[in-house]
Protein backbone atom coordinates (compact mmCIF):
# COMPACT_ATOMS: atom_id res chain seq x y z
CA UNK A 1 0.00 0.00 0.00
CA UNK A 2 1.26 3.42 -0.85
CA UNK A 3 1.74 6.06 1.77
CA UNK A 4 -0.74 8.86 2.14
CA UNK A 5 -0.84 10.84 -1.05
CA UNK A 6 0.99 14.13 -0.92
CA UNK A 7 -1.06 17.28 -0.91
CA UNK A 8 -0.81 19.05 -4.19
CA UNK A 9 -2.91 21.68 -5.82
CA UNK A 10 -5.23 20.17 -8.36
CA UNK A 11 -7.88 21.32 -10.80
CA UNK A 12 -10.51 20.54 -8.25
CA UNK A 13 -9.81 22.74 -5.28
CA UNK A 14 -9.46 21.10 -1.93
CA UNK A 15 -12.61 22.54 -0.37
CA UNK A 16 -14.61 21.83 -3.50
CA UNK A 17 -13.50 18.22 -3.30
CA UNK A 18 -14.63 18.03 0.31
CA UNK A 19 -17.98 19.56 -0.57
CA UNK A 20 -18.45 17.11 -3.41
CA UNK A 21 -17.57 14.19 -1.16
CA UNK A 22 -20.00 15.38 1.49
CA UNK A 23 -22.84 15.86 -0.99
CA UNK A 24 -22.25 12.47 -2.60
CA UNK A 25 -22.24 10.63 0.69
CA UNK A 26 -25.40 12.51 1.67
CA UNK A 27 -26.93 11.44 -1.64
CA UNK A 28 -25.99 7.81 -0.96
CA UNK A 29 -27.32 7.74 2.57
CA UNK A 30 -30.40 9.92 2.25
CA UNK A 31 -32.79 7.07 1.32
CA UNK A 32 -31.20 4.76 3.86
CA UNK A 33 -31.63 7.35 6.57
CA UNK A 34 -35.22 7.84 5.52
CA UNK A 35 -35.95 4.12 5.81
CA UNK A 36 -34.43 3.74 9.21
CA UNK A 37 -35.97 6.97 10.47
CA UNK A 38 -39.53 6.20 9.42
CA UNK A 39 -39.27 2.58 10.52
CA UNK A 40 -39.54 4.04 14.03
CA UNK A 41 -42.28 6.51 13.18
CA UNK A 42 -45.82 5.90 14.40
CA UNK A 43 -47.26 7.67 11.33
CA UNK A 44 -48.69 5.66 8.47
CA UNK A 45 -46.88 7.87 5.95
CA UNK A 46 -43.25 8.14 5.03
CA UNK A 47 -43.47 11.91 5.05
CA UNK A 48 -44.72 12.65 8.53
CA UNK A 49 -43.04 11.88 11.83
CA UNK A 50 -45.68 10.45 14.13
CA UNK A 51 -43.64 9.92 17.25
CA UNK A 52 -41.42 6.99 18.19
CA UNK A 53 -42.69 3.45 17.97
CA UNK A 54 -41.25 0.00 17.51
CA UNK A 55 -44.54 -1.60 16.67
CA UNK A 56 -43.73 -1.98 12.96
CA UNK A 57 -40.99 -4.35 14.03
CA UNK A 58 -43.39 -6.14 16.37
CA UNK A 59 -45.91 -6.42 13.55
CA UNK A 60 -43.35 -8.14 11.39
CA UNK A 61 -42.91 -10.99 13.82
CA UNK A 62 -46.65 -11.64 13.65
CA UNK A 63 -46.91 -11.32 9.86
CA UNK A 64 -47.23 -14.87 8.60
CA UNK A 65 -46.75 -13.97 4.93
CA UNK A 66 -43.45 -12.31 5.72
CA UNK A 67 -42.34 -15.14 7.96
CA UNK A 68 -43.07 -17.66 5.22
CA UNK A 69 -41.19 -15.48 2.73
CA UNK A 70 -38.28 -15.33 5.14
CA UNK A 71 -38.30 -19.10 5.44
CA UNK A 72 -38.28 -19.47 1.63
CA UNK A 73 -35.49 -16.91 1.29
CA UNK A 74 -33.37 -18.66 3.88
CA UNK A 75 -34.00 -22.11 2.39
CA UNK A 76 -32.94 -20.99 -1.08
CA UNK A 77 -30.10 -18.90 0.32
CA UNK A 78 -28.58 -21.74 2.32
CA UNK A 79 -29.02 -24.49 -0.26
CA UNK A 80 -27.82 -22.44 -3.23
CA UNK A 81 -24.84 -21.13 -1.25
CA UNK A 82 -23.82 -24.63 -0.27
CA UNK A 83 -24.16 -25.85 -3.85
CA UNK A 84 -22.29 -22.82 -5.16
CA UNK A 85 -19.53 -23.26 -2.58
CA UNK A 86 -18.84 -26.83 -3.64
CA UNK A 87 -18.99 -26.18 -7.39
CA UNK A 88 -17.19 -22.83 -7.21
CA UNK A 89 -14.38 -24.03 -4.96
CA UNK A 90 -13.62 -27.18 -6.95
CA UNK A 91 -13.72 -25.14 -10.15
CA UNK A 92 -11.29 -22.60 -8.70
CA UNK A 93 -8.93 -25.41 -7.71
CA UNK A 94 -9.05 -26.83 -11.23
CA UNK A 95 -8.69 -23.37 -12.73
CA UNK A 96 -5.44 -22.78 -10.85
CA UNK A 97 -3.90 -25.83 -12.52
CA UNK A 98 -4.47 -24.51 -16.05
CA UNK A 99 -2.12 -22.60 -18.30
CA UNK A 100 -2.53 -18.82 -18.45
CA UNK A 101 -4.42 -18.75 -21.76
CA UNK A 102 -7.08 -21.28 -20.76
CA UNK A 103 -7.35 -19.64 -17.37
CA UNK A 104 -8.48 -16.37 -18.92
CA UNK A 105 -11.21 -18.16 -20.87
CA UNK A 106 -12.56 -19.90 -17.79
CA UNK A 107 -12.53 -16.63 -15.86
CA UNK A 108 -14.63 -14.97 -18.56
CA UNK A 109 -17.05 -17.91 -18.55
CA UNK A 110 -17.63 -17.62 -14.83
CA UNK A 111 -17.95 -13.85 -15.08
CA UNK A 112 -20.70 -14.02 -17.71
CA UNK A 113 -23.63 -14.93 -15.45
CA UNK A 114 -22.71 -12.02 -13.20
CA UNK A 115 -22.40 -9.59 -16.11
CA UNK A 116 -25.44 -10.58 -18.16
CA UNK A 117 -28.47 -8.44 -17.16
CA UNK A 118 -30.57 -10.31 -14.65
CA UNK A 119 -33.65 -9.99 -16.81
CA UNK A 120 -31.96 -11.76 -19.73
CA UNK A 121 -30.79 -14.58 -17.51
CA UNK A 122 -34.24 -14.76 -15.98
CA UNK A 123 -36.10 -15.16 -19.28
CA UNK A 124 -33.51 -17.55 -20.69
CA UNK A 125 -33.86 -19.82 -17.67
CA UNK A 126 -37.65 -19.52 -17.70
CA UNK A 127 -37.81 -20.62 -21.35
CA UNK A 128 -35.36 -23.46 -20.76
CA UNK A 129 -36.68 -24.82 -17.48
CA UNK A 130 -40.37 -24.49 -18.33
CA UNK A 131 -40.38 -25.37 -22.00
CA UNK A 132 -37.40 -27.68 -22.49
CA UNK A 133 -36.94 -29.45 -19.16
CA UNK A 134 -40.72 -29.16 -18.51
CA UNK A 135 -40.39 -28.27 -14.87
CA UNK A 136 -43.77 -27.26 -13.50
CA UNK A 137 -44.89 -24.55 -11.13
CA UNK A 138 -44.51 -27.04 -8.28
CA UNK A 139 -40.80 -27.24 -8.98
CA UNK A 140 -40.41 -23.54 -8.23
CA UNK A 141 -37.93 -24.14 -5.45
CA UNK A 142 -35.81 -26.42 -7.63
CA UNK A 143 -35.75 -23.78 -10.35
CA UNK A 144 -34.69 -21.15 -7.87
CA UNK A 145 -31.98 -23.43 -6.52
CA UNK A 146 -30.64 -23.93 -10.05
CA UNK A 147 -30.52 -20.19 -10.77
CA UNK A 148 -29.30 -19.00 -7.38
CA UNK A 149 -26.81 -21.87 -7.27
CA UNK A 150 -25.42 -20.72 -10.62
CA UNK A 151 -24.88 -17.19 -9.33
CA UNK A 152 -23.47 -18.43 -6.02
CA UNK A 153 -21.04 -20.69 -7.88
CA UNK A 154 -19.74 -17.75 -9.91
CA UNK A 155 -19.28 -15.50 -6.88
CA UNK A 156 -17.52 -18.21 -4.88
CA UNK A 157 -15.33 -18.99 -7.88
CA UNK A 158 -14.31 -15.33 -8.20
CA UNK A 159 -13.38 -14.95 -4.55
CA UNK A 160 -11.61 -18.31 -4.19
CA UNK A 161 -9.69 -18.07 -7.46
CA UNK A 162 -8.52 -14.59 -6.50
CA UNK A 163 -7.26 -16.01 -3.25
CA UNK A 164 -5.62 -18.96 -4.99
CA UNK A 165 -3.68 -16.51 -7.16
CA UNK A 166 -1.77 -15.52 -4.03
CA UNK A 167 -1.28 -19.12 -2.93
CA UNK A 168 2.33 -20.22 -2.57
CA UNK A 169 2.43 -23.57 -4.35
CA UNK A 170 5.79 -24.38 -2.80
CA UNK A 171 3.86 -25.03 0.40
CA UNK A 172 2.37 -28.06 -1.32
CA UNK A 173 5.85 -29.17 -2.37
CA UNK A 174 7.07 -28.65 1.18
CA UNK A 175 4.21 -30.83 2.45
CA UNK A 176 4.95 -33.52 -0.13
CA UNK A 177 8.63 -33.32 0.75
CA UNK A 178 7.75 -34.06 4.39
CA UNK A 179 5.83 -37.16 3.37
CA UNK A 180 2.28 -35.86 2.90
CA UNK A 181 0.27 -37.44 0.13
CA UNK A 182 -1.91 -35.31 -2.15
CA UNK A 183 -4.98 -35.50 0.05
CA UNK A 184 -3.02 -34.77 3.23
CA UNK A 185 -1.33 -31.78 1.62
CA UNK A 186 -4.72 -30.43 0.56
CA UNK A 187 -6.38 -31.19 3.89
CA UNK A 188 -3.63 -29.84 6.16
CA UNK A 189 -2.08 -27.05 4.10
CA UNK A 190 -4.17 -25.79 1.20
CA UNK A 191 -7.68 -26.01 2.61
CA UNK A 192 -6.94 -24.15 5.88
CA UNK A 193 -5.32 -21.36 3.88
CA UNK A 194 -8.15 -21.27 1.35
CA UNK A 195 -10.92 -21.45 3.90
CA UNK A 196 -11.34 -17.70 4.47
CA UNK A 197 -11.83 -17.26 0.73
CA UNK A 198 -14.47 -19.99 0.63
CA UNK A 199 -16.33 -18.56 3.61
CA UNK A 200 -16.05 -15.01 2.25
CA UNK A 201 -17.41 -16.12 -1.11
CA UNK A 202 -20.26 -17.98 0.58
CA UNK A 203 -21.28 -14.97 2.65
CA UNK A 204 -21.26 -12.83 -0.48
CA UNK A 205 -23.31 -15.41 -2.39
CA UNK A 206 -25.78 -15.70 0.47
CA UNK A 207 -26.27 -11.92 0.60
CA UNK A 208 -26.82 -11.83 -3.17
CA UNK A 209 -29.36 -14.64 -2.99
CA UNK A 210 -31.29 -12.94 -0.18
CA UNK A 211 -31.65 -9.76 -2.26
CA UNK A 212 -32.24 -11.31 -5.68
CA UNK A 213 -35.54 -10.20 -7.18
CA UNK A 214 -35.76 -10.31 -10.99
CA UNK A 215 -34.76 -13.93 -11.63
CA UNK A 216 -36.79 -15.10 -8.67
CA UNK A 217 -39.89 -13.32 -9.97
CA UNK A 218 -39.54 -15.18 -13.28
CA UNK A 219 -38.95 -18.63 -11.89
CA UNK A 220 -40.93 -18.88 -8.67
CA UNK A 221 -44.13 -20.87 -8.49
CA UNK A 222 -47.39 -19.26 -7.41
CA UNK A 223 -47.40 -18.44 -3.73
CA UNK A 224 -43.67 -19.09 -3.42
CA UNK A 225 -42.69 -15.72 -2.07
CA UNK A 226 -39.23 -14.74 -1.05
CA UNK A 227 -38.64 -11.58 0.95
CA UNK A 228 -37.81 -9.39 -2.08
CA UNK A 229 -40.90 -10.70 -3.91
CA UNK A 230 -43.09 -10.00 -0.94
CA UNK A 231 -41.62 -6.51 -0.54
CA UNK A 232 -42.13 -5.75 -4.22
CA UNK A 233 -45.77 -6.74 -3.98
CA UNK A 234 -46.25 -4.45 -0.99
CA UNK A 235 -44.52 -1.55 -2.70
CA UNK A 236 -46.71 -1.82 -5.79
CA UNK A 237 -50.02 -2.44 -4.13
CA UNK A 238 -50.23 -1.46 -0.51
CA UNK A 239 -47.13 0.31 0.76
CA UNK A 240 -47.08 0.03 4.53
CA UNK A 241 -44.55 1.42 7.02
CA UNK A 242 -43.88 -2.16 8.01
CA UNK A 243 -41.71 -2.31 4.88
CA UNK A 244 -39.42 0.30 6.38
CA UNK A 245 -38.84 -1.96 9.35
CA UNK A 246 -38.27 -4.99 7.15
CA UNK A 247 -35.95 -3.04 4.86
CA UNK A 248 -33.98 -1.79 7.83
CA UNK A 249 -33.55 -5.34 9.08
CA UNK A 250 -32.52 -6.62 5.64
CA UNK A 251 -30.09 -3.76 5.21
CA UNK A 252 -28.61 -4.56 8.57
CA UNK A 253 -28.22 -8.26 7.72
CA UNK A 254 -26.68 -7.44 4.32
CA UNK A 255 -24.19 -5.09 5.91
CA UNK A 256 -23.32 -7.64 8.57
CA UNK A 257 -22.86 -10.34 5.93
CA UNK A 258 -20.71 -8.10 3.71
CA UNK A 259 -18.58 -6.95 6.63
CA UNK A 260 -18.20 -10.52 7.85
CA UNK A 261 -17.12 -11.55 4.36
CA UNK A 262 -14.53 -8.77 4.21
CA UNK A 263 -13.29 -9.50 7.73
CA UNK A 264 -12.94 -13.23 7.17
CA UNK A 265 -10.98 -12.62 4.00
CA UNK A 266 -8.73 -10.02 5.63
CA UNK A 267 -8.08 -12.25 8.62
CA UNK A 268 -7.16 -15.06 6.28
CA UNK A 269 -4.78 -12.82 4.42
CA UNK A 270 -2.96 -11.92 7.60
CA UNK A 271 -1.99 -15.53 8.24
CA UNK A 272 -0.62 -16.12 4.77
Amino acid sequence: MIATAPTSRFPIGKSLLWLHGLVTYAFLYLPIALLVFYSFSASEFNTVWGGFTSHWYADLTANEDKLLALKNSLTIGFSSTLLGAILGTTAALGHARLTAGKRRLIEVLFLLPIMVPDIVMALALKIYLDRVLHLTADDGMVKLLIAHGLLAMCYVFMVVSTRLRGFDWRLMEAAADLGANRWQAFRHVQLPLLWPGVVGGMLLAFAISLDEYVITSFLRGPGQNTLPISIAADIKHTPKPEINALATLMLLSSVVLALASALVQRKGKATS
Binding site: R170, L171, E173, A174, D177, A180, P192, L193, T271
Partner: protein
Protein backbone atom coordinates in the same frame (compact mmCIF):
# COMPACT_ATOMS: atom_id res chain seq x y z
CA UNK B 1 35.05 -47.75 0.21
CA UNK B 2 31.38 -46.86 0.15
CA UNK B 3 29.78 -45.77 -3.12
CA UNK B 4 28.05 -42.40 -3.58
CA UNK B 5 24.96 -41.71 -1.47
CA UNK B 6 23.28 -39.81 -4.28
CA UNK B 7 24.17 -40.52 -7.87
CA UNK B 8 23.01 -38.19 -10.62
CA UNK B 9 23.58 -39.90 -13.96
CA UNK B 10 23.52 -37.96 -17.18
CA UNK B 11 20.34 -36.10 -16.29
CA UNK B 12 18.59 -33.85 -18.79
CA UNK B 13 15.57 -31.60 -18.31
CA UNK B 14 13.74 -29.43 -20.80
CA UNK B 15 11.01 -26.85 -20.33
CA UNK B 16 9.40 -26.62 -23.72
CA UNK B 17 12.18 -26.00 -26.19
CA UNK B 18 14.57 -24.75 -23.53
CA UNK B 19 17.24 -27.14 -22.32
CA UNK B 20 17.55 -26.32 -18.63
CA UNK B 21 19.72 -29.18 -17.44
CA UNK B 22 22.00 -30.74 -20.02
CA UNK B 23 23.61 -34.08 -19.22
CA UNK B 24 24.55 -33.47 -15.60
CA UNK B 25 26.35 -36.23 -13.69
CA UNK B 26 27.27 -35.94 -10.01
CA UNK B 27 28.31 -38.31 -7.23
CA UNK B 28 27.58 -37.06 -3.73
CA UNK B 29 29.18 -38.87 -0.82
CA UNK B 30 27.75 -39.56 2.60
CA UNK B 31 28.42 -36.77 5.08
CA UNK B 32 29.49 -34.35 2.40
CA UNK B 33 28.66 -30.66 2.15
CA UNK B 34 28.18 -30.40 -1.59
CA UNK B 35 27.36 -27.07 -3.28
CA UNK B 36 25.82 -26.37 -6.65
CA UNK B 37 27.12 -22.95 -7.61
CA UNK B 38 26.15 -20.80 -10.57
CA UNK B 39 24.30 -17.70 -11.64
CA UNK B 40 20.52 -17.66 -11.95
CA UNK B 41 19.18 -19.84 -14.74
CA UNK B 42 22.21 -22.13 -14.79
CA UNK B 43 20.09 -25.19 -13.91
CA UNK B 44 21.26 -25.63 -10.32
CA UNK B 45 17.84 -25.27 -8.77
CA UNK B 46 16.25 -27.57 -11.35
CA UNK B 47 18.91 -30.17 -10.61
CA UNK B 48 18.12 -29.88 -6.91
CA UNK B 49 14.39 -30.14 -7.56
CA UNK B 50 14.97 -33.32 -9.52
CA UNK B 51 16.93 -34.80 -6.64
CA UNK B 52 14.04 -33.80 -4.34
CA UNK B 53 11.61 -35.58 -6.65
CA UNK B 54 9.63 -32.44 -7.56
CA UNK B 55 10.65 -32.76 -11.20
CA UNK B 56 11.24 -35.86 -13.26
CA UNK B 57 14.30 -35.94 -15.51
CA UNK B 58 13.58 -36.21 -19.25
CA UNK B 59 16.60 -38.45 -19.57
CA UNK B 60 19.09 -40.00 -17.17
CA UNK B 61 18.39 -41.09 -13.63
CA UNK B 62 18.97 -40.26 -10.01
CA UNK B 63 19.92 -43.09 -7.65
CA UNK B 64 20.03 -43.21 -3.90
CA UNK B 65 22.26 -45.69 -2.12
CA UNK B 66 20.90 -47.68 0.77
CA UNK B 67 17.26 -47.40 -0.13
CA UNK B 68 14.99 -49.52 2.01
CA UNK B 69 13.03 -51.73 -0.31
CA UNK B 70 9.53 -50.28 -0.10
CA UNK B 71 6.98 -48.60 -2.27
CA UNK B 72 7.78 -45.20 -0.88
CA UNK B 73 10.11 -43.38 -3.27
CA UNK B 74 13.57 -42.68 -1.88
CA UNK B 75 13.20 -38.94 -2.22
CA UNK B 76 10.24 -39.05 0.13
CA UNK B 77 11.95 -41.31 2.65
CA UNK B 78 15.30 -39.79 3.11
CA UNK B 79 15.58 -36.43 1.36
CA UNK B 80 14.16 -33.24 2.86
CA UNK B 81 14.38 -29.75 1.54
CA UNK B 82 14.91 -26.27 2.95
CA UNK B 83 13.16 -23.96 0.53
CA UNK B 84 14.16 -20.60 -0.77
CA UNK B 85 12.10 -18.14 1.34
CA UNK B 86 11.43 -21.13 3.59
CA UNK B 87 7.85 -22.11 2.51
CA UNK B 88 6.79 -22.38 6.15
CA UNK B 89 3.11 -23.23 6.64
CA UNK B 90 1.73 -19.81 7.59
CA UNK B 91 -1.26 -21.12 9.52
CA UNK B 92 0.74 -23.47 11.74
CA UNK B 93 2.81 -22.66 14.80
CA UNK B 94 6.53 -23.31 14.84
CA UNK B 95 5.91 -26.57 16.70
CA UNK B 96 3.30 -27.69 14.17
CA UNK B 97 5.59 -26.78 11.30
CA UNK B 98 8.50 -28.76 12.70
CA UNK B 99 6.24 -31.66 13.63
CA UNK B 100 4.49 -31.85 10.25
CA UNK B 101 6.76 -34.51 8.77
CA UNK B 102 6.49 -36.61 11.95
CA UNK B 103 2.71 -36.32 11.83
CA UNK B 104 2.74 -37.56 8.24
CA UNK B 105 4.92 -40.48 9.31
CA UNK B 106 2.44 -41.21 12.13
CA UNK B 107 5.12 -40.94 14.78
CA UNK B 108 3.59 -41.30 18.27
CA UNK B 109 2.65 -38.01 19.90
CA UNK B 110 5.08 -38.30 22.81
CA UNK B 111 7.99 -39.21 20.56
CA UNK B 112 7.02 -36.44 18.14
CA UNK B 113 6.91 -33.91 20.96
CA UNK B 114 10.36 -34.96 22.12
CA UNK B 115 11.83 -34.77 18.62
CA UNK B 116 10.34 -31.35 17.92
CA UNK B 117 11.73 -30.01 21.20
CA UNK B 118 15.12 -31.48 20.33
CA UNK B 119 15.08 -29.86 16.90
CA UNK B 120 14.05 -26.46 18.26
CA UNK B 121 16.85 -26.73 20.83
CA UNK B 122 19.27 -27.53 18.01
CA UNK B 123 18.36 -24.38 16.09
CA UNK B 124 18.17 -22.34 19.32
CA UNK B 125 14.45 -21.64 19.13
CA UNK B 126 13.46 -23.50 22.29
CA UNK B 127 11.01 -20.84 23.46
CA UNK B 128 9.40 -20.03 20.13
CA UNK B 129 7.26 -23.15 19.67
CA UNK B 130 3.91 -21.35 19.95
CA UNK B 131 4.70 -18.52 17.56
CA UNK B 132 3.39 -18.29 14.01
CA UNK B 133 5.96 -17.91 11.21
CA UNK B 134 5.00 -14.29 10.53
CA UNK B 135 5.83 -13.44 14.15
CA UNK B 136 9.45 -14.46 13.56
CA UNK B 137 12.37 -12.62 12.02
CA UNK B 138 13.86 -13.81 8.75
CA UNK B 139 16.73 -15.54 10.50
CA UNK B 140 14.36 -17.30 12.89
CA UNK B 141 12.13 -18.45 10.03
CA UNK B 142 15.22 -19.85 8.38
CA UNK B 143 15.99 -21.86 11.50
CA UNK B 144 12.44 -23.21 11.64
CA UNK B 145 12.73 -24.31 8.02
CA UNK B 146 15.93 -26.14 8.87
CA UNK B 147 14.43 -27.76 11.96
CA UNK B 148 11.40 -28.86 9.95
CA UNK B 149 13.63 -30.47 7.35
CA UNK B 150 15.76 -32.22 9.99
CA UNK B 151 12.94 -33.50 12.20
CA UNK B 152 12.31 -36.69 10.24
CA UNK B 153 16.03 -37.54 10.29
CA UNK B 154 16.66 -37.47 6.56
CA UNK B 155 19.93 -38.74 5.14
CA UNK B 156 20.18 -35.90 2.69
CA UNK B 157 19.13 -32.29 3.21
CA UNK B 158 18.63 -30.14 0.16
CA UNK B 159 19.00 -26.40 0.64
CA UNK B 160 17.86 -24.01 -2.08
CA UNK B 161 19.51 -20.63 -1.52
CA UNK B 162 18.48 -20.84 2.13
CA UNK B 163 20.26 -17.66 3.20
CA UNK B 164 19.40 -15.56 0.16
CA UNK B 165 16.85 -13.40 1.98
CA UNK B 166 19.03 -12.56 4.96
CA UNK B 167 21.27 -9.55 5.39
CA UNK B 168 25.03 -9.96 5.21
CA UNK B 169 25.81 -10.19 8.91
CA UNK B 170 23.06 -12.68 9.68
CA UNK B 171 24.06 -14.67 6.62
CA UNK B 172 27.61 -15.10 7.93
CA UNK B 173 26.29 -16.21 11.30
CA UNK B 174 23.90 -18.72 9.72
CA UNK B 175 26.69 -20.04 7.48
CA UNK B 176 28.69 -21.02 10.56
CA UNK B 177 25.65 -22.52 12.23
CA UNK B 178 24.59 -24.56 9.19
CA UNK B 179 28.09 -25.93 8.80
CA UNK B 180 28.22 -26.78 12.51
CA UNK B 181 24.91 -28.65 12.41
CA UNK B 182 25.85 -30.51 9.25
CA UNK B 183 29.16 -31.65 10.71
CA UNK B 184 27.91 -32.54 14.18
CA UNK B 185 24.99 -34.60 12.89
CA UNK B 186 27.03 -36.13 10.08
CA UNK B 187 24.44 -35.09 7.51
CA UNK B 188 24.77 -34.86 3.77
CA UNK B 189 23.94 -31.36 2.52
CA UNK B 190 23.31 -30.47 -1.09
CA UNK B 191 23.39 -26.72 -1.16
CA UNK B 192 22.35 -24.46 -4.02
CA UNK B 193 23.76 -20.94 -4.04
CA UNK B 194 24.81 -18.18 -6.39
CA UNK B 195 27.09 -16.74 -3.75
CA UNK B 196 30.63 -17.94 -4.46
CA UNK B 197 31.96 -16.85 -1.11
CA UNK B 198 29.25 -18.87 0.64
CA UNK B 199 30.11 -21.92 -1.43
CA UNK B 200 33.87 -21.55 -0.90
CA UNK B 201 33.67 -21.18 2.88
CA UNK B 202 31.17 -23.94 3.63
CA UNK B 203 31.58 -26.68 1.06
CA UNK B 204 33.59 -29.88 1.00
CA UNK B 205 33.12 -29.92 -2.74
CA UNK B 206 31.62 -27.48 -5.21
CA UNK B 207 30.02 -28.08 -8.57
CA UNK B 208 30.11 -24.98 -10.76
CA UNK B 209 27.27 -24.98 -13.28
CA UNK B 210 26.74 -22.88 -16.39
CA UNK B 211 23.92 -23.07 -18.93
CA UNK B 212 22.68 -26.40 -17.66
CA UNK B 213 26.09 -28.07 -17.75
CA UNK B 214 28.68 -28.96 -15.14
CA UNK B 215 31.74 -26.73 -15.63
CA UNK B 216 33.86 -28.23 -12.86
CA UNK B 217 33.53 -30.29 -9.71
CA UNK B 218 36.18 -30.00 -7.02
CA UNK B 219 37.22 -28.86 -3.58
CA UNK B 220 37.05 -25.11 -2.97
CA UNK B 221 40.85 -24.93 -3.34
CA UNK B 222 40.81 -26.76 -6.67
CA UNK B 223 37.99 -24.61 -7.97
CA UNK B 224 39.72 -21.43 -6.93
CA UNK B 225 43.30 -22.18 -7.83
CA UNK B 226 43.01 -24.65 -10.70
CA UNK B 227 39.95 -23.59 -12.68
CA UNK B 228 39.45 -25.86 -15.67
CA UNK B 229 37.51 -23.41 -17.76
CA UNK B 230 37.54 -19.74 -18.42
CA UNK B 231 33.99 -19.56 -17.05
CA UNK B 232 35.03 -20.95 -13.67
CA UNK B 233 38.08 -18.70 -13.46
CA UNK B 234 35.93 -15.72 -14.31
CA UNK B 235 32.94 -16.65 -12.13
CA UNK B 236 34.96 -17.39 -8.97
CA UNK B 237 36.98 -14.44 -7.77
CA UNK B 238 38.84 -12.23 -10.21
CA UNK B 239 41.36 -13.23 -12.82
CA UNK B 240 43.66 -11.71 -15.40
CA UNK B 241 43.09 -13.55 -18.67
CA UNK B 242 45.91 -13.80 -21.20
CA UNK B 243 45.60 -15.64 -24.50
CA UNK B 244 48.74 -17.22 -25.90
CA UNK B 245 50.38 -20.16 -27.68
CA UNK B 246 52.30 -23.02 -26.08
CA UNK B 247 55.91 -22.84 -27.29
CA UNK B 248 57.81 -25.39 -25.18
CA UNK B 249 57.34 -28.19 -22.65
CA UNK B 250 59.46 -28.51 -19.53
CA UNK B 251 59.32 -30.82 -16.53
CA UNK B 252 55.96 -29.93 -14.87
CA UNK B 253 55.49 -26.66 -16.67
CA UNK B 254 55.08 -25.08 -20.11
CA UNK B 255 56.21 -21.88 -21.77
CA UNK B 256 53.47 -19.82 -23.31
CA UNK B 257 53.99 -16.91 -25.68
CA UNK B 258 51.58 -14.10 -24.92
CA UNK B 259 51.96 -11.27 -27.45
CA UNK B 260 55.73 -11.63 -27.43
CA UNK B 261 56.05 -12.14 -23.71
CA UNK B 262 56.97 -15.63 -22.44
CA UNK B 263 55.11 -16.84 -19.38
CA UNK B 264 55.91 -20.03 -17.48
CA UNK B 265 52.90 -21.96 -16.22
CA UNK B 266 52.72 -25.05 -14.07
CA UNK B 267 50.39 -27.77 -15.33
CA UNK B 268 49.87 -31.52 -14.95
CA UNK B 269 48.26 -31.98 -18.33
CA UNK B 270 50.36 -29.89 -20.72
CA UNK B 271 48.65 -29.07 -23.99
CA UNK B 272 50.67 -29.82 -27.13
CA UNK B 273 53.12 -27.25 -28.45
CA UNK B 274 51.44 -24.79 -30.76
CA UNK B 275 48.13 -25.11 -28.93
CA UNK B 276 46.25 -21.93 -28.19
CA UNK B 277 45.57 -21.54 -24.46
CA UNK B 278 44.11 -19.07 -21.99
CA UNK B 279 46.13 -18.28 -18.89
CA UNK B 280 44.32 -17.17 -15.74
CA UNK B 281 46.26 -15.33 -13.04
CA UNK B 282 44.67 -14.14 -9.76
CA UNK B 283 45.48 -10.46 -9.10
CA UNK B 284 46.42 -11.17 -5.47
CA UNK B 285 49.13 -13.64 -6.53
CA UNK B 286 51.06 -11.02 -8.44
CA UNK B 287 53.62 -9.12 -6.36
CA UNK B 288 55.79 -6.08 -6.90
CA UNK B 289 59.53 -6.75 -7.13
CA UNK B 290 62.81 -4.86 -7.56
CA UNK B 291 64.50 -7.87 -9.16
CA UNK B 292 64.69 -8.38 -12.90
CA UNK B 293 64.66 -12.17 -12.67
CA UNK B 294 63.80 -14.73 -10.03
CA UNK B 295 64.24 -18.48 -10.13
CA UNK B 296 61.01 -20.36 -10.89
CA UNK B 297 59.08 -17.12 -11.13
CA UNK B 298 57.67 -15.02 -13.91
CA UNK B 299 59.03 -11.47 -13.86
CA UNK B 300 57.84 -8.63 -16.09
CA UNK B 301 58.26 -4.85 -16.18
CA UNK B 302 55.36 -2.45 -16.48
CA UNK B 303 54.01 0.97 -15.72
CA UNK B 304 51.22 1.78 -13.25
CA UNK B 305 48.24 3.15 -15.12
CA UNK B 306 45.73 3.44 -12.33
CA UNK B 307 45.48 2.60 -8.67
CA UNK B 308 42.19 2.06 -6.86
CA UNK B 309 41.85 1.98 -3.08
CA UNK B 310 39.32 -0.59 -1.80
CA UNK B 311 39.68 -0.91 1.93
CA UNK B 312 42.15 -3.54 3.06
CA UNK B 313 43.53 -3.82 -0.48
CA UNK B 314 44.60 -1.61 -3.30
CA UNK B 315 44.20 -2.61 -6.93
CA UNK B 316 46.73 -1.50 -9.54
CA UNK B 317 46.21 -1.56 -13.27
CA UNK B 318 49.64 -2.10 -14.76
CA UNK B 319 50.34 -1.70 -18.47
CA UNK B 320 52.94 -4.04 -19.94
CA UNK B 321 55.25 -3.05 -22.86
CA UNK B 322 53.52 -5.52 -25.20
CA UNK B 323 50.25 -3.64 -24.85
CA UNK B 324 48.64 -5.97 -22.30
CA UNK B 325 47.36 -4.86 -18.94
CA UNK B 326 47.39 -6.75 -15.62
CA UNK B 327 45.43 -6.17 -12.44
CA UNK B 328 47.46 -6.49 -9.28
CA UNK B 329 45.96 -6.69 -5.80
CA UNK B 330 48.16 -5.68 -2.86
CA UNK B 331 47.41 -5.03 0.79
CA UNK B 332 46.96 -1.31 1.27
CA UNK B 333 49.80 -0.99 3.79
CA UNK B 334 52.11 -3.04 1.60
CA UNK B 335 52.17 -0.92 -1.51
CA UNK B 336 55.47 0.34 -2.96
CA UNK B 337 56.68 3.85 -2.13
CA UNK B 338 55.43 6.52 -4.52
CA UNK B 339 53.37 4.05 -6.51
CA UNK B 340 51.30 6.38 -8.62
CA UNK B 341 50.34 6.78 -12.22
CA UNK B 342 53.34 6.46 -14.53
CA UNK B 343 55.65 4.74 -12.04
CA UNK B 344 57.68 1.90 -13.55
CA UNK B 345 57.39 -1.32 -11.55
CA UNK B 346 58.54 -4.93 -11.70
CA UNK B 347 55.87 -7.63 -11.31
CA UNK B 348 56.39 -11.26 -10.34
CA UNK B 349 54.24 -14.34 -9.81
CA UNK B 350 55.04 -18.00 -9.30
CA UNK B 351 54.51 -20.58 -12.03
CA UNK B 352 51.80 -22.29 -10.00
CA UNK B 353 49.79 -19.06 -9.89
CA UNK B 354 49.03 -19.51 -13.58
CA UNK B 355 46.14 -21.76 -14.53
CA UNK B 356 46.32 -23.13 -18.07
CA UNK B 357 42.90 -23.43 -19.71
CA UNK B 358 42.24 -24.81 -23.15
CA UNK B 359 41.09 -21.92 -25.33
Amino acid sequence: MEGPLVGVHNVTKRYGSQLVVDGVSLDIKRGEFFSLLGSSGCGKSTTLRMIAGFETPDAGEIRFANVNPSKVPAYVQQVNMVFQNYALFPHMTVTQNVGFGLKMERVAASESKRRVAEMLELVQLGNFGDRLPRQLSGGQQQRVALARALATKPQVVLLDEPLGALDLKLRKEMQRELKHIQESLGLTFIYVTHDQEEALTMSDRICVMNRGRVEQVGTPEEIYHRPQSKFVADFIGESNFLTGTVTAHHAGHVSVNVAGLTIQAQTNQPPPAGAEVVLAIRPERINFTQETSLLGQNVVQGEIHRSVFCGSDRIFHVNLPNGLSLQVREQSDNTPEGASRGTSVGLTWPMDAVAVIAA
